[in-house]
């Protein structure tokens, strides 16, 4: 696998917008060409080489791994729309990491800021720390958010994560989000997304869910009144065939959307 190493060498007051840091953009470029790529700092255009040391050698996007060192917690949009290869980030990361990614893999060894994996269309985003609000969500005004792929967050995710997720049986697309715990309005307006939470969730999980599956192994601070108890189960089968063992209370909803619904919310008994 070809490898490019980036190391942040300068601090910056304003967020750096670095949507060019992606395997697709780096593929086939020399290190000098990579250094000449444009980043945005406020209303100024700067060159990547001004802020990052670039070492290693690029190659085909499928075979390329980008490793990022230094504190990039205020660098935005890394891995935007990426389709293949891998990015490994050894730091906290700024907003919009891996947004609209179609394929490949991003690993963050730290926390991610808001909109991580927003509108993910494929691939895998792994965050070892916490993630901010709108993880795996639709952007403002979009009716289709995460459409496929997997997001795994070890820690807690913020509010309104996986907003407007949308599966497609026909195209065999099953967006999935795993996380340690979550803020309020998890999976709001869900249309077929699957969410598995290891711990507790704040109020209004599954608000306005049309269909989809939310499994919470901890508790919910306030379950919505529009969810109805179906019964108790010892195992939950997810649309991807994965089975989750444990005692859960099964609720159907959100009934504020429909009187009869396939939407399900499982909360540990």
């Amino acid at each position: 696998m070809a490898e490019i190493k980036l190391k942040l060498k300068k601090t910056h007051k304003f967020p750096l917008e670095a949507d060019v840091i992606s395997t697709d953009v780096f593929a086939g470029k020399s290190n000098d060409e990579i250094k000449a790529l444009e980043l945005y700092l406020g209303n100024e255009v700067v060159q990547l080489g001004e802020f990052f040391d670039v070492t290693g050698k690029s190659g085909d996007a499928n075979e390329l791994k980008i490793i990022i060192d230094g504190d990039v917690s205020n660098v935005k949009r890394i891995g935007e729309k990426m389709t293949a290869g891998e990015i490994e980030i050894n730091s906290d990361i700024g907003m919009h990491v891996g947004n609209q990614m179609k394929g490949g893999k991003i690993i963050v060894h730290g926390d991610a800021d808001d909109w991580a994996g927003a509108m993910l269309k494929g691939g895998e985003l792994i965050i070892e720390g916490n993630a901010g609000h709108y993880t795996g969500s639709a952007y403002r005004g979009f009716w289709k958010g995460m459409e496929d792929g997997i997001i795994r967050v070890k820690g807690t995710i913020g509010n309104e994560s996986m907003l407007w997720a949308r599966n497609s049986k026909k195209a065999n697309k099953w967006p999935i989000l795993y996380c340690g715990a979550a803020g309020s309005f998890l999976g709001i307006h869900n249309h077929g997304g699957t969410i598995i939470v290891e711990g507790d969730v704040d109020r209004c999980a599954g608000a306005d869910q049309a269909w989809g599956t939310i499994v919470i192994k901890g508790s919910v601070s306030r379950k919505l009144p529009s969810y109805k108890k179906v019964g108790e189960v010892k195992e939950v089968e997810l649309p991807n065939g994965e089975k989750i063992k444990g005692k859960f209370i099964e609720y159907s909803g959100d009934h504020s959307v429909k009187k009869e619904t396939n939407g399900r919310l499982y909360i540990a008994a």
């Binding site: 304003f14 100024e44 952007y139 009144p225 529009s226 009187k259």
Partner: protein, 442 residues
Amino acid sequence: MVERKIKTVYDVICPFCGTLCDDLEVDVDNTTEKVVEVRNACQIGTAKYFSSNPSEHRYEKPMIRKDGELQETTWDEAIDKAADILVKSKRPLLYGFSSTECEAQGKGVELAETLGGILDNTASVCHGPTLLAEQDVGVPSSTLGEYKNRADTVVFWGCNPVHAHPRHLGRYSEYVRGYFKKDGRNDRFVIVVDPRNTHTAQIADLFVQVNPNEDYELMNAIRATLRGVEIEEEEVSGVPVEKIKQLVDILKKARYGVIFFGMGLTQTLAHHRNIDTAICLIRELNDHTKFLITPMRGHYNVTGANQVFSWNTGYAYSIDFSRGYPRYNPGEFSSVDLLMRDEIDSSLIVASDPASNFPADSVKTLFKYPLIAIEPHETPTSVFADIVLPPQMAGIECVGTAYRMDSVPLRLRKVKDAPGDCLSDLEILERLLEKVKEKIGE
């Protein structure tokens, strides 16, 4: 012949709140150019007219900070220094715009684009959540005149018009006689949902007291009940399920209903999701009857700011021009969030007073960097400004266009001349833009 000293201007539009009452009569002393009497306006609208008279609070000349003090200067120097600050900035914030007229707002958009700055209006801290919800689920709405003539069921949710929009009830929503509502108040059933027993609640037919910050769950239960689902709890958000059923019954039986809502919904926890679910409730009520929804907009032309920004950029507020084209993302480009993250390096505040209503930490950041205020009065924001550019007050001292809360545009009138050297907001922004262009060599 004795010369008349007082001139009266009729059919004046009140430039204070989003109700934009259009029936004011203002008496102006011809010799002093002072407002001496205002008829038909409520107390807050009247106060705005009187505040335009010269006083120790009114700026009459441009001011610039020298040796730590704001001192009078010329327009040329003030505009030159202001343009200097903006041109040197990498992330200037242009904020406010809701208490001025549309033509000036349009110039503000052009200035923000030229500077590659951030453009935001006060919706960011009032009804921005309403706009977010509308983008998510649409909005079935109408004009205030329609409500006046037709509505028989009026809901005020999280708003208190008796104090915030005093003449709304008399002109459009509660006491007024409408074409099909000849008996005025008797022809309307008024419901108030609020955590507090407000003065609006005290004159309602039904008051539903909801726990603070729990409106979402209540609305959610109302929607489920409307769909014929039994709620498996005894009470929701402090409201007994029996009362929820009664409320649903009333809403369904309405022949023409409307929900007016305010910052009790947009600025409590759940924010735009409160509006999201309220709009969905309206959609579902339309399976049974006719129901609509309208936000109670505060600043008289905040609706105009949203309109003007939208037709110029595609977005109503929280707009970033740093990459040369407009991008929109409240939370990322909204003023308070930017300030909390210390992401600006100068600001131009137009016709608003963020220091009075932003969180303290964000105001601290605002004051850390050069601040230019286009502001007629001394405010907590303007006293910390580096440059103050004094404008004529739109709708009192110059004309312009403003949008009522229901998006109806009305032409503002001029009733008198401004004191001192004040220029219109439009002219100030034009001169500033010209200077900025000159400095960046455009």
